[in-house]
């Protein structure tokens, strides 16, 4: 039953859009205004609308809705789907808090959840601190040729995929890796330091993977700041930290929000770094979701966990944006 509902809801959304456009066209009555089909021609108009409709409905909205409705079903073999045992239930969500097999609190998964969120926050802050000076230098201080060269240097490692970047860090940090070999060679330590087991590798891996996601929005935001403003502040005797606090950072706020949001979301949803750089006892939330799909074959529970993650991330991001008084529209540019 609920599955049909998923197919009906988008129709309601389309109807809503249509009513909205009708109402707007009445409000802003303008005799020279042409309708969508008058402006693009009938054939192209239909092509545009069907392309966008296919994307929005079949690739974005309906899969999301479908995932959500799946998470409200019990786990069943394919034969029993749609049968009498296929009812709506919140047991998958309950299982996040209370483990169904034992009835105890599900501290394992809850701890993994908070660990993922807090680590992502930490990584976001670290990346901001690392990238802000470079973005500022590129946007305000560097000459055109230098900035171009730096850009080129930034873009090339960006296209090496996540797996290989994680792999390269493992070569450095493993117990037989370069850092441990060097330290032991010099004689500073006798036994290798376990970077991967203590999650140091995970933190470095996440920060490394999303470094460039932070640089570009910051650079774009600071670049449009008028140099005269900084000059003026300096002439009036402001120390450098005050210039950043009162002039540059307030101006670049949308870019900062955008970079931080992207890094946080990517980090919270990352799969490669925790799989390849996390310690053996480290549980990352997306890895749990991954296991529900590929090892336990419990899709409804995996879907429920994925939805919990998505909701938590959205709430978190919206709260932060509200706190810094930036609208979501400004963020995604």
């Amino acid at each position: 039953m609920s599955r049909f509902f998923v197919f009906l809801l988008p129709l309601a959304v389309i109807a809503g859009f249509w009513l909205l456009s009708r109402q707007e066209s009445k409000l802003a009555h303008d005799p020279t205004h042409k309708s969508f089909f008058q402006r693009n021609g009938t054939v192209l108009g239909i092509v545009f609308i069907s392309l966008v409709t296919f994307w929005m409905l079949f690739l974005v909205v309906m899969p999301y809705l479908y995932m959500v409705q799946e998470s409200f079903h019990p786990r069943l073999p394919p034969m029993k789907r749609g049968g009498p045992e296929d009812f709506l239930t919140i047991q998958q969500y309950k299982s996040f808090f209370v483990e169904p097999s034992s009835g105890d609190w599900n501290t394992l998964h809850m701890r993994a959840f908070f660990f993922s969120i807090l680590t992502s926050v930490f990584v976001t802050f670290v990346n901001f601190a690392i990238c802000y000076p470079l973005a500022y230098y590129m946007a305000q201080a560097g000459t055109i040729q230098k900035v171009r060269l730096l850009m080129l240097c930034l873009i090339v490692p960006y296209w090496v995929n996540e797996i290989l970047r994680a792999f390269s860090l493992r070569l450095l940090l493993a117990s037989k890796g370069l850092i441990n070999q060097t330290l032991m060679g010099i004689g500073i330590i006798d036994t290798p330091i376990d970077f991967l087991g203590t999650n140091t590798g995970l933190y470095i891996g996440l920060s490394y993977a999303y470094l460039l996601i932070m640089v570009f929005p910051l650079y774009n935001a600071i670049e449009s700041l008028d140099k005269n403003q900084i000059e003026a502040a300096r002439d009036l005797g402001a120390p450098w930290w005050k210039i950043h606090r009162d002039v540059v950072i307030p101006y670049a706020k949308p870019g900062i929000a955008s970079g931080c949001t992207m890094v946080f979301m990517l980090s919270a949803g990352s799969l490669a770094a925790p799989q390849f750089l996390g310690g053996p006892s480290t549980l990352w939330f997306t890895s749990i979701v991954y296991d529900f799909f590929f090892q336990a074959f419990n899709w409804p529970r995996g879907a429920a966990y994925a939805f919990i993650l998505l909701t938590a991330c959205i709430i978190f991001v919206l709260a932060i944006l509200k706190l810094f008084k930036v609208s979501l529209g400004e963020t995604i540019r």
């Binding site: 402006r39 490669a272 997306t286």
Partner: protein
């Protein structure tokens, strides 16, 4: 004066550290690709070898993965660039209040974790394709699902790129063409598309590359098939071999060549533009001189 020098030194040192962090691991990995030991090690460097590249070339699963990755990448370009173009055009034409809602919905896939996009794609299409045996047999395939899953967010990238260029489009060009009797498709193909060409090209490149290197969405959507990145993930999980380093060297080499070619093309374009300006200025001066001497 000396404090300025200290400041400069500090900036240079910081930039050096930043790029050491960025390139260091890749450099070390690059060295291991040419070293003989079967555990990828950069130091001590025992002997130079190209053996790992041969191993890479003979790695069947990886070569199959590359083939699938290219097919998926082309599929993603074929879907997401037209969709992004259509959405960008619609974005400019719909009413204000509807626009902000439309904008939020269209860019939401950019912010959604890739894992969730992959999961929702599989769950949805499994049931939809499962309706008839025919669709289940021919369309419920990893490659098709991966194309759909990746397109959902890659189309949003394309939308953003194309929209940025469309905002600079001068509407009066379109109106002039229409007044002179051009039809709508003519205006679209002869005025709008040529104007958007640079954005369409960069959207295609970015779409292909983001599809090629995607892991989070693909690992769910690909089902039983394999792409280069999922094969790689399996390899890294099992252990480490310098063949992976060799692959990284190849990828870095290719993207370096691409970046340099792009830079050269851009420089040449700029030089041409400058020459044109110079010529225009000379011509103008010539005219002025001609007018003064009464030759014009």
């Amino acid at each position: 004066m000396s404090s300025r020098l200290v400041m400069r030194g500090m900036i240079a040192f910081y930039i050096f550290l930043f790029f050491a962090y960025l390139f260091g691991p890749l450099l070390v990995m690059g060295i291991t690709a040419f070293n003989t030991p079967s555990y990828p090690q950069a130091y001590p460097f025992e002997a130079f070898t190209l053996n790992w590249f041969v191993k890479l070339w003979n790695h069947r699963a990886m070569m199959d993965g590359i083939k699938n990755s290219i097919i998926i990448g082309l599929g993603v370009v074929a879907i997401s660039v037209p969709v992004g173009l259509a959405a960008a055009i619609m974005m400019g034409q719909i009413y204000h209040r509807a626009r902000s809602v439309f904008y939020l919905v269209t860019v939401s896939p950019v912010l959604t974790p890739g894992v969730i996009i992959g999961i929702s794609t599989v769950i949805f299409w499994k049931d939809l394709m499962g309706v008839t045996d025919f669709t289940k047999a021919y369309f419920y395939k990893g490659i098709i699902l991966a194309i759909f899953g990746q397109s959902s967010f890659v189309a949003a990238y394309c939308l953003l790129i194309i929209m940025a260029r469309l905002q600079r489009f001068d509407r009066s060009q379109e109106e002039a063409a229409l007044d002179l009797g051009a039809s709508f498709p003519q205006v679209f193909w002869h005025i709008l598309v040529p104007f958007l060409k640079p954005a369409l090209i960069s959207a295609s490149v970015i779409a292909f590359l983001s599809s090629f290197e995607n892991y989070n969405t693909t690992t769910f959507a690909i089902l039983a098939d394999k792409t280069l990145v999922t094969v790689l993930a399996g390899e890294v999980r099992q252990g480490t071999t310098p063949a992976l380093s060799a692959l990284a060297v190849v990828i870095i080499g290719l993207s370096l060549i691409g970046a340099i070619l792009y830079e050269v093309a851009k420089r040449r374009e700029e030089a041409a533009a400058q020459r044109m300006q110079e010529r225009a200025r000379l011509a103008e001066r010539g005219e002025v001189i001609g007018a003064k001497t009464g030759l014009a």
